[in-house]
């Protein structure tokens, strides 16, 4: 049998190095600011969860967390739902302008947020959605919808067209076929796509902060404000930072089997 | 030039099971003779793929020894066993041409270039791939790709056995026949031991010299297609082989006659007395149950099935369902039909196993 030790060692080494900055953050969240500034230590001297308690007890932080989760969830749902029929169409049919449309969709992934921030601000203000979770959820569609279409199109391609034809022969109407037969076949793809949409929406901060102010302030914006107001409250920031990692970790735990099952985005 | 010996091979996923039911593969002794084509036939889950994997090296059996010739290869990894394998779907190297695909195993064994070229040309010729040698393997049809998969196995002259795991699964029905004939020709030309796993009896019976019928992890009967047809040793073989399968009637057997509820019939041999209370059946294939205008047992006709080359009558004889064959000159069939049962081809089964009788 192949030598399994080398890959495992390399992988473990990579994970170890990877975790160092994260460990550092966790460590700092458990220290007091005085402790942090007093010198470099590998372990917290008197670990305490007081900063976490401060966050949980502060309605601004909690509200911010809820806001972030809300717009990410809404955006993921919209992106996947809207992308599904489009992905099917792109893969199964040939239509006027299809290749150009697909490429145009991809170009929206190249939109630098820094450039669009100002026009977005004006647009959402004009339609009265400024400072709502809907603004962020819709704004993130700019890049998440094309990404969802891109990934889902690959998964649709992995399902043989014979299945569509057989269902038609068996008398299924298209909606029934799509919901009862097709969707379960790409359940894997839907899970993976939802994960990526969640991730890219959760981590995007520039648009999220530009389009919100007091009512719908996302968690990371609360962080940035605390940053400037309280000066260098490193341990509070560290605690907040650690908390931002949790939803993502939970989501990927839920879709781990979809990823482990593998996808090639087409026929292997 | 080797034969493969299974010496008490058995496989279970959980150590040594207490009884038979714990085995994926029940203990089996068999010698696969060099140069013959074998089919491993059985329904899904019967253990045929497990057995193939034991031979190929993907699975190490929990009990028993596997011998290639005199060599104990039970624990030897696949690449050292000198076998070739063709899988359910074509396995080819996408980025290479057909010629490069066929040359690959020889290149890895550092054969000289001229030897490789000659061998590739030979095998390509045998498999009708010569025209496509310089095309990219990826663009060919499924049956061509399976031929390439097979070819890669055949290029190596040290191959002692070729294993097939349901290789025609993804092939167009129209091309299956062609590919099967090709396999037979290759077999005759190269005189290799071939083991072919399938759940399709037509494939098995047309391809193989000998068929191993498996059910529920056990090799139920090993024999030529003729033996399996004329003398099934187990009711499963009678039922699985033949289309439709054998007719079975519960009976009491005395001497050379069988007493079925409602009538009596003659048997082709004399049987010793059988213990009471056990499952005794009489089995006879529809091919040997004939509708007749002459004398016979009266049966109610349920329906007639016209298959083109033969016509079958589904009848009820004294309440027992039977399938009978109608002679070609019997144009129409009424509600009743006389049937004649060929005693010489009637068998007796005790607890599903055939009982041998003495000549009458």
């Amino acid at each position: 049998m192949r030598n399994d030790a080398l890959p495992r060692i390399l992988f473990a080494a990579y994970v170890l190095v990877l975790m160092l900055p994260i460990y550092w953050l966790i460590k700092m969240s458990l220290q007091s600011n005085a402790d942090i500034m007093s010198g470099l230590t590998l372990f917290p001297r008197h670990p305490s969860l007081e900063k976490y308690a401060a966050i949980f007890n502060d309605p601004t932080w909690v509200h911010g967390f809820g806001v972030s989760l809300s717009y990410v969830a809404i955006n993921t749902a919209i992106s996947v739902a809207v992308a599904l029929p489009a992905a099917y169409a792109f893969n199964r049919y040939s239509f006027l302008g299809d290749k150009h449309l697909f490429f145009w969709l991809l170009t929206n992934l190249m939109a630098p947020a820094a450039v669009f921030a100002m026009p977005f601000f004006q647009l959402y203000y004009a339609v009265g959605l400024f400072d709502t979770i809907w603004a962020v959820a819709l704004a993130h569609c700019l890049f998440n919808v094309p990404l969802a279409v891109w990934i889902l199109e690959g998964f649709v391609g992995g399902v043989p067209r014979e299945i569509d034809e057989t269902a038609a022969i068996d008398g299924y109407s298209f909606p029934r076929f799509f919901v009862k037969i097709f969707l379960p076949l790409i359940a894997n793809g839907i899970g993976v796509t939802a994960f990526f949409c969640f991730m890219f929406s959760w981590v995007e901060q520039l648009l999220a902060t530009t389009l919100t102010s007091s009512h719908a302030l996302p968690f990371a914006a609360v962080m940035t404000r605390a940053y400037s107001v309280a000066g260098m409250d490193w341990s509070l920031l560290a605690a907040a930072g650690v908390l931002t990692m949790i939803p993502g970790a939970v989501v990927i735990w839920f879709v781990r089997n979809h990823i482990a099952k593998g996808f090639a985005l087409g026929r292997v | 030039m080797t034969s493969i010996t299974l010496d008490h091979i058995a496989h279970s996923y959980m150590g040594k099971p207490k009884d038979d039911s714990g085995y994926q593969l029940k203990p089996l002794n068999h010698v696969w003779e060099h140069g013959l084509a074998y089919a491993l036939l059985g329904p899904s889950g019967c253990g045929k793929t497990t057995l193939l994997n034991v031979i190929s090296g993907l699975v190490i059996p929990s009990e028993g020894r596997l011998l290639f010739g005199e060599r104990d290869v039970t624990r030897l990894p696949t690449e050292q066993r000198n076998i070739a394998q063709v899988f359910q779907f074509p396995v080819i190297y996408d980025t290479m041409t057909v010629a490069e695909n066929l040359a690959f195993p020889l290149k890895n064994r550092r054969q000289p270039r001229l030897v490789i070229e000659k061998r590739v040309a030979e095998i390509a010729d045998m498999l009708d791939l010569t025209a496509d040698l310089n095309r990219r393997a990826r663009g060919l049809t499924a049956d061509a790709k399976q031929k390439i998969s097979l070819g890669r196995g055949l290029v190596r002259s040290d191959v002692s056995a070729v294993l097939f795991d349901e290789p025609l699964t993804v092939i167009d029905p129209a091309l299956k026949w062609e590919l099967r004939s090709k396999l037979k020709r290759v077999h005759r030309a190269l005189d290799l031991l071939m083991i072919y796993v399938t759940h399709d009896q037509i494939e098995a019976l047309t391809f193989a010299d000998k068929v191993v019928v498996m059910n529920d992890g056990r090799a139920v009967q090993i024999g030529t297609p003729a033996e399996l047809f004329y003398q099934p040793e187990h009711t499963f073989v009678g039922y699985f082989i033949g289309s439709p399968g054998m007719n079975f009637l519960p009976a009491e057997v005395r001497g050379a006659r069988a007493h079925v509820a409602g009538f009596e019939m003659a048997l082709g041999a004399t049987y010793a007395d059988m213990p009471k209370g056990r499952n005794i059946q009489v089995g006879v294939r529809p091919e040997f149950v004939a509708g007749t205008r002459g004398a016979g047992l009266p049966a109610q006709v349920r329906r007639v099935s016209d298959l083109g080359r033969k016509r079958l009558a589904y009848v009820s004889l004294a309440g027992h369902p039977l399938v009978a064959t109608l002679p070609h000159d019997m144009e129409s069939v009424g509600e009743t039909l006389n049937i004649a049962i060929d005693a010489a081809n009637t068998h007796v089964y005790l607890d599903d196993v055939r009982v041998a009788g003495r000549a009458p």
Binding site: A114, M223, I259 | -
Partner: protein, 296 residues
Amino acid sequence: MTAKPINNRAWFFVLPVLGFVLFSSIVPTMTVVNYSVQDTMGANNFFWNGDQWFRDLLNPTTAIGQRFNDALFRTLAFSLTCLVIEIPLGIAIALCAPRKGWAVGPSLVVVALPMLIPWNVVGTIWQIFTREDIGLYGAALNGLGLHYNVTQDAISAWTTIVVMDVWHWTPLVILLSYAGLRAIPDAYYQAARIDGASRWAVFLNIELPKLQKVLVIAVLLRFMQTFMIYTEPFVVTGGGPGSATTFLSIDLDKIALGQVDLGNAAAMSLVYYLITLTVCYVFFTIMTQLERRRDV
């Protein structure tokens, strides 16, 4: 491979997508185009400037042209460096990742973690991590004798941003490659063993070709993201020291908001967008052509 049926009613399937994306892209795009061809004397007084902004921009002898040129090359160099490191590293780690057993789930979570952190937090983490007084990275490098100072030394700043990007985004390549690898049926590996193929031959002839589609996505996404990088370097170096890490996005922001020079900024963003578009279009076309040629 049979051709796809032509069905123009498929446009109905695509309309929702079109709606959502257009809403967010048409108005901003038009605004940017608008700004790029106008000049302002302040207080909302615009007058037509034609293609003057563009000409100045693409002329390396003008101040703005020089600045744009520098930022462009800086960003391209950065993108290339990151791609050259992240793609092979990502594939290599994906090959080493556990494929069965209890370790699969936790491994995926841990490996993906850096990707799941909001970008300003990533910046903050590295800002702290690179300080020589309270950060492990800064302290360790200085302890080893290297003169590491992320705010004052250009090389330190550059390498730090690259390391940060590799740390942050290699997981994307790993996850995509891992999923691609897991989709390869076992039979291919068995056949390769029977054929006597070496580990390297298996990688070249089986794994890499079958990873092609996911790698296209990985490369394109990574190129786009590195080319447009903004938040992370901004938080850690602010674009400094000097303009050492002032990549296109940051420079753009400085011009647009800092100098309120909307015309130049808008023209810059359009040119910038067109460059990204061209590179991606070329790559995309090459990959689809290669694939089509393989099937012939």
